[in-house]
Subunit: 270 residues, 2 copies
Amino acid sequence: MAPKVFYISDGTAITAEVFGHAVLSQFPLEFESLTIPFVETLAKAENVKRQINDCFITTGERPLVFHSIVKPEIRDIIYSSEGLDYDFLNTFVAPLEQHLGVSASPVLHRTHGKANHGYEARIDAINFAMDNDDGQTMKHMDQADLILLGVSRCGKTPSSLYLSMQFGIKAANYPFTEDDMDNLKLPEALKRNKKKLFGLTIDPVRLHEIRQSRMENSRYSSLKQCRLEVKEVEMMFKRERIPYIDTTNHSVEEIATKILDVTGLERHMF
Amino acid sequence: MAPKVFYISDGTAITAEVFGHAVLSQFPLEFESLTIPFVETLAKAENVKRQINDCFITTGERPLVFHSIVKPEIRDIIYSSEGLDYDFLNTFVAPLEQHLGVSASPVLHRTHGKANHGYEARIDAINFAMDNDDGQTMKHMDQADLILLGVSRCGKTPSSLYLSMQFGIKAANYPFTEDDMDNLKLPEALKRNKKKLFGLTIDPVRLHEIRQSRMENSRYSSLKQCRLEVKEVEMMFKRERIPYIDTTNHSVEEIATKILDVTGLERHMF
């Protein structure tokens, strides 16, 4: 039976999930998880405690409880349940207080709340990525922090969105299409922003699979066309000395952080 | 002087950042941070160790080092630096091994890598959110998990994107505009997906500010128009019994998790 896991927070529970997920991914096991966010009142906390205790009674195993609860009176109720507590916030807060010589002054919703400075800049970055997706306009290229280039369906859009959402980077992206292949060159708006350009490429066979699921048996999705486009675009990246990475075996997180690593663009954190 | 912080990982360092950021946000201090991802070789690790030691020599203070390093030989080098280690992975892995009766078998890139099952579904969800943003088509409403409704600039787009990116939810969104106000009603494609509808609303004064920065001194951005649209749309939410929340003081994380909490939609984790 898959071990049971609770992620609990008086906020969004996103931090508890990321933390618990990272720890549990070290084990070669499947887990069955339940996330309970916004446990902000004593009544809600008592309710969660009952759920944890019921789980223990039903399964005979003490469930794992990952929590990032800021309010002490809520935390105490969860602590008093039959769950096994993994409280990463407090485990690390006490030694830090000692080292910094400053008491922690917990405030709810500071991690994923709006009070977080730079929040407006982040929303601006998301809107920028939306408005400048897929080369729909060249008007704002001068305002971009980064411009991703590549063939259709190589991962430009998810990467741009992730960079804006997670790191507040204003990322535009521009596609090279079938019609460009005879005479592949950079448009003027990209040429004058040469330092912001970053290429994405992909294995042609994988590209063929992805395009097949969008437009089956078309010229666009044919392996021949995929091979041609990837080859031409990679040659251009080399000719123009545009740094590029292969997205085939990488997640958006890996692609995004790799790009920041290579370009030296600063991560903004939220 | 702001305390110095390093976030270090042999992967993307996203987990180390989220974890460290959550812990440090408990303190009423500003920190100066540097993130170093992809520390995958002994040479890179030695280089990072030098940076940490240089920081100690320059500032006279031992920097804080948050890390989530999977490879033991890399971790040992970081441990041997002058930094103060906060190693949340291993702090919790040992007690978990005991409880689960299973040894951890660390694999690199399991947390934010592509091997992660459901990765394709997540990319599909991101593409779905892009293709069904701002009511640009009604064709795929039957395939949506969730359809967000509201006036222009109330937070629909960032919320839809976040829900798709973070939780793999297929979220469409549909705007009500000036022209709809005289006779506000749900289009047919939304009516037959009534259970998927969720409303967003916003304080009219805040809406006015946001719209002013997009289109100054227009009818669209006038406080009068903002008040009218918000009032009409809220009345419709009530009339049609569509659940809704006010986004004014909430981050996209809070809006997204609140929606999942109210609707009972399942979070998919990546």
